[in-house]
């Protein structure tokens, strides 16, 4: 029982309402339903956090700030939510992507060293759990991609979103999404090639 109380309670709430749409919950919240807000938070906050953490190169504190800010914007828009116009998750990813882009831009203009350098050749990697090592290596590699490529690859391959949905999030065409993810994957494959051995792909 190492998980926190809130997380456990929210996980239970999540089990009970998987069939209710995000939109229905958002409308309920817009009418003052607190429970709907708890369910939406349980459902959406982990996704936003995961996305923001990748976008911001693993900066946990900043990713949490972005998540809170994005969710706050969702709370504010709830009473005016126009049903059927956009998926709630798509809207939220778009807001998060824009918040991350703003922060990355500010970060670059203020402190160019704040972007975490890919950690290379750590001796303990070979002994670490392979999954953790691979996840970390991928995150390091993602951090080296241009913002748009990183966003597209993260949404496609880590958040499991469809290309049309990503197109809506990034406000570009589906073709542009395909091109971004393809280039992003090529870049990742090239970056990770140098770490193949420590990642367990030495034979290739």
């Amino acid at each position: 029982m190492t998980k926190g109380y809130v997380t456990r309670v929210m996980a239970m709430a999540f089990d009970a309402q998987t069939e209710v749409s995000d939109e229905a919950l958002l409308v309920a919240y817009g009418n003052g339903d607190r429970e709907a807000a708890a369910m939406l938070t349980a459902r959406l906050a982990p996704r936003v956090l995961g996305f923001a953490a990748r976008m911001l190169g693993g900066d946990r504190a900043e990713a949490e700030d972005v998540t809170q800010e994005a969710m706050l914007r969702l709370w504010k828009v709830a009473p005016d939510w126009r049903q059927g116009e956009a998926k709630v998750s798509t809207w939220l990813y778009r807001v998060s992507a824009n918040l991350c882009t703003d922060r990355l831009r500010k970060r670059r203009s203020v402190d160019i060293d704040a972007i975490p350098e890919p950690e290379d050749g750590r001796p303990e990697v070979a002994e670490a759990m392979m999954q953790g090592a691979r996840a970390q290596a991928l995150e390091d590699a993602l951090a080296q991609l241009p913002d748009r490529q990183r966003a597209a690859v993260t949404l496609r391959h880590l958040e499991g979103r469809t290309n049309p949905e990503i197109a809506e999030v990034l406000e570009i065409s589906v073709e542009a999404v395909e091109s971004l993810t393809a280039r992003g994957k090529r870049a990742l494959a090239a970056i990770l090639a140098g770490r193949r051995e420590e990642l367990g792909y030495g034979e290739d």
Partner: protein
């Protein structure tokens, strides 16, 4: 199998890396969840405060009727017509002639000639006959 360090990672290997990263997705802390819910509560409170007593009453049946007729001016005309009707009913029958501008009474010069009110209502006798018949 002359592979160099620079051969890109194969697709299946990359896919495996994605899977690993998905499994290692960060989990929101309790404090983050609590902050988000506090924001949600604050928004509900702010909305309740902003929206409170501006309760416009729903238009009732009477208001709907007035609106259907054409508003208060139409209603005033109808009131005038009703009052005129009452006056016509109780007023002297000669008054009807005056109102009609003398066309009801022939220009014979005999001012004593007069019409009974019944003469002006063509169906009246019919009704009277009906009444006596059933008696």
């Amino acid at each position: 199998m002359a592979k160099t360090e620079h051969t890109p990672l194969r697709d299946d290997a990359l896919e495996e890396m994605f899977r690993a990263a998905r499994a290692e997705a960060p989990e929101p802390s309790d404090s983050l969840m609590a902050r988000i819910m506090a924001d949600a509560e604050a928004e509900i409170a702010a909305r309740a405060e902003a929206a409170h007593p501006v309760r416009t009453p729903r238009p009732g049946l009477w208001a709907a009727l007035v609106a259907a007729i054409g508003g208060w001016p139409a209603l005033a005309s109808m009131a005038t017509a009703a009052v005129a009707g009452v006056w016509l009913g109780f007023g002297a029958t000669e008054g009807v002639d005056a109102l009609a501008g003398g066309i009801l009474i022939g220009d014979t010069g005999t001012a004593t000639v007069s019409y009974e009110f019944e003469d002006l209502l063509p169906g009246y006798e019919g009704f009277a006959a009906l009444e006596t018949e059933t008696d």
